[in-house]
């Protein structure tokens, strides 16, 4: 294990070898080297090989419903604008002027016909094209070869799945449909349980945590195990009792392409934690309709105790209706963005209850979320210790839990108390981290 002894300070992402990366993860035995959480060079490689390549969630279509509507967000550490053009298409482009690099949009949301840089007044359309600049005729005369058409903002590819908008900067990446694969069957539990589709409610709460982005992502991917312990106090506050013991033999972890969902079939367990009887009644009233639409088993998943993650960093809690991304800000920091998802056809009064229920449980002031941050920050920061770093982490729960299931898609594992989804998350991480930029898209499996 000479790689573990090397001093990595100052090295570049390119100096991280594939052999070193493979040695960090022993997923057959469920052991992970903590270097993946603190090494700056590995983090830089993550930005290049994961965040500049994968399909990343950037917005819900409802956030940019009309022409000119925009939100700003991040793809990795790259700031981007997500804007609906006059042609109805959703565009995603870099939020950095092609002249001196200044941000061209400082607001987090709004409606604009164009984006003008504050520095020299270069103006870009809702598709990122350079549409105007002061003293343009001077450029025509004194700047040989000047061509506005070549000075548009770098655009990402954009595709949607039932309201969720994703973008990628990888021209070679397979289509979003292939990237999500069978995960769409599970996503339909939330996105297509009603013919009216879904929307995000107004707003977006953002906060910073000093943790590695993978801790919250893997937590949502498959850490049902922490819920009863970490969130005991929140459950007592919202339900009057702790997190109940769930029937492990009727609960599952499923994963595919690094995307994860872990769930029971209790139908309303998560939703109940929002503390609003009307939400539980709404879900119960709809169960038969949902069963007719999606089948019995998926109708039991709508509000069930569950959590999920689309690789790399779009996490959500079915039932609790919180959607969130963990934007990396260095190996030891993230910016968390959260939203509330509802069925568009739900009564307005119920949407308000969802909004309040989600905020009081899963926001920085939420009775459940409050206890997560301490854990993820400390799990990250203890890695400052050079001896602590060498103490590897155990990811060995549920090693032989894979089952065949007549209905459930993907790689199915029995019991939610299980590290299978987390191992699959890191397996996918390793595949992408080891795939050279020139590797054919097929070898990268989407």
């Amino acid at each position: 294990m000479h790689t573990a002894l090397a001093t990595p300070f100052g090295r570049t992402a390119a100096e991280v070898s594939t052999d070193e990366l493979r040695a960090l993860l022993d997923l057959e035995r469920g052991i992970i080297d903590r270097r993946v959480y603190w090494d700056e060079a590995i983090y830089r490689l993550e930005l290049e090989r994961i965040f500049a390549r994968c399909w990343l969630f950037v917005a819900h279509e409802s956030q940019v419903a009309r022409a000119g509507d925009f939100v700003t967000t991040y793809m990795g550490e790259d700031g981007v604008v997500v804007a609906r053009g006059t042609d109805g298409r959703i565009n995603v482009f870099l939020n950095s002027c092609t002249h001196r690099g200044n941000k061209i949009c400082l607001a987090e949301a709004g409606n604009r016909k164009s984006f003008t840089c504050n520095y020299h007044g270069w103006t870009f359309g809702t598709d990122g094209a350079l549409v105007g600049l002061p003293q343009e005729q001077l450029y025509q005369v004194t700047s040989p070869g000047f061509d506005k058409r070549e000075l548009g903002l770098k655009r990402a590819r954009v595709e949607s799945y039932k309201g969720l908008v994703f973008a990628t900067f990888d021209e070679e990446a397979p289509a979003l449909e292939a990237y999500l694969g069978d995960y769409r069957w599970y996503l339909d539990v939330l996105l297509d349980n009603d013919e009216g589709g879904t929307e995000f409610l107004e707003g977006n709460i953002k906060s910073r945590m000093r943790c590695n982005w993978k801790f919250p992502a893997e937590n949502f991917a498959g850490d049902s195990y922490h819920a009863a312990w970490t969130h005991n106090s929140g459950a007592i506050a919202m339900l009057g009792t702790g997190v109940g013991k769930s029937n492990q033999e009727k609960s599952y972890q499923v994963n595919m392409n690094g995307h994860s969902w872990q769930f029971g079939l209790d139908m309303v367990g998560n939703a109940m934690v929002l503390g609003e009887q009307d939400i539980v009644d709404y879900l119960r009233e709809r169960e038969e309709k949902v069963a007719a639409r999606l089948g019995r088993i998926r109708s039991r998943m709508v509000g069930a105790i569950s959590s999920a993650n689309i690789f790399p960093h779009l996490s959500f809690l079915p039932g609790q209706s919180t959607f969130r991304t963990w934007h990396p800000k260095g190996p030891g920091a993230i910016e968390l963005h959260t939203w509330v998802l509802v069925n568009k056809s739900a009564p307005e009064a119920l949407k308000e209850k969802y909004m309040k229920g989600v905020m009081r449980t899963f926001s920085p002031s939420g009775t459940l979320e409050m206890d997560d941050g301490d854990n993820w920050e400390n799990a990250t920061q203890t890695n400052d210790g050079v001896v602590t770093r060498r103490q590897k982490l155990h990811y060995g729960l549920g090693m032989d839990s894979r089952i065949e299931h007549p209905e459930l898609k993907g790689s199915v594992h029995l019991r939610k108390y299980n590290d299978s989804n987390q191992r699959a998350f890191y397996q996918r991480w390793l595949e992408l981290m080891c795939a050279q930029p020139s590797a054919p898209a097929v070898a990268r499996r989407g």
């Binding site: 709004g110 920085p364 002031s365 409050m370």
Partner: protein, 190 residues
């Protein structure tokens, strides 16, 4: 073009103050003492006594802050937008229940909190028993070994005098300065 330096038509002009009804100093003092005591109850984690300062119909609202352009027609603060707090008494009691729970791990060892209340300004409302009270708040939290979080905000409260003659908090709006909360959580009332 000749430019004469000094006064120009575009220079902003002062607006003279509008006379406001004088609020009795005893009332200002009473409101201040109410807010200071309330802050101390929070700092000392005397949450149930803190709940006792609320009216039955309390609305406790701390909206999320969005960075939007001035030209944006949407309101800067919108009750329909996501909020850190938008609570009635039942939900404040739920939060307090968590704070008091032995398994609220993020409060054990306790988070150390200090509320600084300032700029208290009392306005009469036209209703005999209700006063609008503006204040600013700065909160400092110490957590674990060396973590420190500062948060500042402006508050607009409605204080109501109830049957026993004491003041209660009937509503509170807290507008913080951060649009991205620079902390892992907000385990504090402001």
């Amino acid at each position: 073009m000749v430019i004469v330096l000094g006064e120009t038509p575009v220079l902003a002009k002062p607006i003279p103050p509008v006379p406001v009804p004088v609020v009795p100093p005893e009332l200002v003092s009473e409101a201040e003492q109410f807010l200071f005591r309330e802050a101390r109850l929070l700092d000392e984690e005397r949450y149930q006594e803190w709940l006792g300062l609320m009216t039955e119909d309390i609305r406790y609202w701390m909206p999320g802050i969005q960075a939007r352009y001035r030209k944006d027609k949407k309101p800067r603060l919108d009750p329909k937008r996501m909020a850190y707090f938008d609570d009635d008494l039942l939900n404040l009691r739920r939060r307090v229940t968590r704070f008091l729970s032995a398994t609220a791990w993020a409060e054990d060892p306790p988070t150390r909190s200090c509320h600084i209340v300032s700029n208290v300004e009392v306005e009469l409302t036209g209703r005999e028993n209700e006063y609008r009270v503006y204040s600013t708040i700065v909160n400092c939290r110490g957590r674990n070994e060396a973590e420190e979080y500062w948060l500042a905000g402006r508050r607009t409260d409605m204080l109501r005098r109830v049957g026993d003659g004491t003041l209660r908090l009937a509503s509170r709006q807290i507008v913080i300065t951060e649009s991205v909360l620079l902390a892992k959580n907000l385990n504090v009332f402001l």
